[in-house]
Symmetry: C2
Subunit: 435 residues, 2 copies
């Protein structure tokens, strides 16, 4: 079921096909629907929001019911086990510690002639976090989005998540939110939730940055409101690429592939190995472990359509194929992963060695699990505190410093045909000369 | 002609109107055109590219003529003055020095139980820089985009710019490109150039990040290809907001407002002052300086439609209005700009004191002049070397470290219903137990 490919040209074509699995022209058609939802919420506010919640989530809410009440937040703690709470707290600590590393810091530098240059970092005023409902209602998603916003120092963080049956929300999500310090939570989802966060309604505040994963409608809505607000990224289905040599354990490799495939029928699970025998054993193991897998149908689909094992001549060749794919998650299950790392250019997160399954990073190692997908690792990075921050350049010139550059600026403004640009310097350096 | 407003509610409404001047529903209609151009270039490559260049730029090119030849690059140096070349070189040095400051650096940290965590920064493989033609063909644009890409270490940087009459390009642009180390330049512009950079054609390489300003078609094209490639930002028309107290020189303030307005009829020029007399003198000065302004018509339009002077009670009130507007450029022409800075939360670049006209930053102080517009400074920042870089998270666990977190991961995977995630840890920590 996990196909094995030896031929390099075929491997390249196959990787390109898998990488492009979401760049679908069909997506364009859904944009019309999403645009309509955005416009409706923008113009009618809560009214449209409640109507779409009735239509799509089949829950009839009043505006008063949108926000989760304090009693519901308290009650959630009664519905999660002590073990789960402890695990959430361990994850919180590690995620916070990692995200506090190398935070952007404001700075100024003093140059000759009293010139001061610098950058001043500040958090955004308000952030909105989208947490999917249903099958993909993950407490880890809450932590991976909320904690970086807290570390950035965002004064107001709101969370939205679609209501389930009887207007209910997943208690683990409510507990994770509170552990991350968030208590302003609204039970709305879909493109209408993104619209509310972008434009604001009577009930929902408009925010400056929206982060968090969602289905295709949520992703399209984020793309359309980008420019009005900032967004983290356009999340596609998840993917893992494993580079393994003969030192890898095929049972572990197979399980890691399935741990990706079990997310979603669109998930991708790719093995690139220098060891033909390993590829065969892994393929057999995947089939074996799929036999009584609790999420068999969707996991099988992912493996069948977006799973592949590629056999290559060398680890360098494996790295080059991986760079072309630019995977969200990259596992290096090889004897010397740090040496191989030197050949890797593009990957969202890299898991080194035989004892680092992706799940460690998904939950609690500390680095963010919100990562670039579908080849976006060629230019994009994990979500971080900086997703919720921005900087202002700082420039201060003195009279003598301005005088020294006046000639050069004059020449440049003439070349660009912008007379008042020139005059703004001349009038300061040659008083009375031009007025 | 520069209206003066005293009433705070009116001031807020007016600033909102000016800030939202580009969030126009009309823009949506142009998207259909842009989408068609993107699809055509994606499917037909150079053929479509040449057809659109004939249609929109009225230049009939062959594919061979797309790339600027070495002889044209050499010839450009003969067409610029020694003074302009020197000014470009001064700007290059300052821009490079500033962008080399606080570059993101790769790091790893060693934790207990041989856990290694870190971030590894790498440049993108290929970057594409868009430089507008016609009235807005600015050598400074070239430097402000190309130098950060060079500082980031991008191995291949290509530039595109639309051809003028007789297929010509502005020699100052060609010289600036070469001074910034770029020699791969193509004479294409508009949405078709963005399409070529995003998808690649036989002649133009596809890139990973596209930066640079352009007209509404270019901006829409960048928005539509975002996700296939990274982009710097969606640049709107330029804007300045000046906060001035009674220590400001009204002639300088007026010139600085006009230096913004002369860019574009859509440019915004806003003064917020605590001094009613200053507002009146500035308004009179603006009218006076406009009388024989070489770009009178468009500059007058900008001042009339997107210019305003607001009189407020205090500098704190001025700062709060400025924060709501989140200007691209903010000048603090007050007695103590560093004290006022403490009240500023959102601005692309801040020019402090009486001797720092925006033009200093536009050309050569060092910080980037590609800045967030239309309120985007609430969440976005100047273009920088990091625009052309990304990082990979690094995670390595040891057997003992994995063993210690196995229980917590197990609980979390159960809460999220992802069995293979759990198994990927169990199979490593409890060999033989589950297989």
């Amino acid at each position: 079921m996990l196909r094995i490919i030896h031929q390099q040209t075929e491997a390249r074509t196959e990787l390109q096909r898998i990488c492009a699995r979401t760049h679908d022209d069909q997506v364009f058609r859904k944009e019309a629907t999403v645009r309509e939802i955005l416009q409706a919420v923008r113009r009618q506010g809560d009214t449209a929001l409640l109507r779409y919640t009735a239509d799509f989530d089949h829950q009839t809410l009043t505006a008063d019911e949108l926000r989760i009440r304090g009693s519901e937040l308290d009650a959630a703690y009664q519905q999660v086990s002590r073990e789960l709470l402890d695990a959430i707290r361990l994850a919180c600590r590690n995620i916070e510690a990692f995200h506090r590393q190398r935070m952007p810091k404001s700075w100024v530098q003093f140059h000759d002639d009293n010139v001061v240059l610098g950058k001043r970092y500040t958090p955004v005023d308000r952030a909105g976090i989208y947490v999917p409902g249903g099958r993909a209602a993950y407490p880890s998603t809450v932590l991976m989005n909320a904690i970086p916003a807290q570390v950035a120092g965002v004064p107001r963080i709101v969370m939205v998540t679609p209501p389930g049956e009887h207007k209910s929300l997943n208690p683990a999500i409510l507990v994770a939110a509170q552990e991350a310090g968030i208590t302003e939570i609204y039970r709305i989802g879909g493109a209408q939730a993104i619209a509310a966060l972008a434009y604001g309604t009577d009930t929902i505040p408009n925010v400056n940055v929206i982060t968090g994963p969602g289905n295709i409608y949520v992703t399209l809505a984020k793309k359309l409101v980008y420019g009005i607000v900032g967004i983290d990224s356009l999340a596609g289905p998840s993917e893992v690429l494993i580079i393994a040599d003969s030192t890898a354990n095929p049972v572990h490799v197979a399980t890691d592939l399935l741990a990706q495939a079990e997310h979603d029928p669109m998930a991708a699970a790719i093995l690139i190995t220098t060891d033909m025998a390993l590829a065969e054993t892994v393929a057999a193991q995947v089939a074996h472990q799929l036999r009584d897998h609790p999420r068999q149908t969707l996991t099988e689909k992912a493996i069948a359509h977006h799973g592949v094992a590629i056999v290559v001549e060398s680890l360098e060749a494996a790295a080059e194929l991986s760079n072309q794919f630019a995977p969200e998650h990259l596992e290096l299950e090889v004897a010397d992963p740090w040496q191989l790392l030197e050949h890797i250019r593009h990957a969202g997160a890299i898991f080194l060695g035989h004892h680092t399954p992706e799940a460690v990073g998904d939950y609690l190692a500390g680095p963010n699990h919100t990562l670039p997908t579908s080849g976006a690792a060629r230019y994009a990075s994990a979500l971080g505190a900086e997703t919720f921050m921005k900087h202002s350049s700082l420039i201060q010139y003195s009279p003598v410093a301005l005088h020294k550059v006046a000639g050069a600026i004059d020449v440049l403004t003439q070349a660009e045909g912008l007379p008042s640009h020139g005059a703004s310097v001349q009038r300061r350096t040659q008083p009375g000369s031009t007025d």
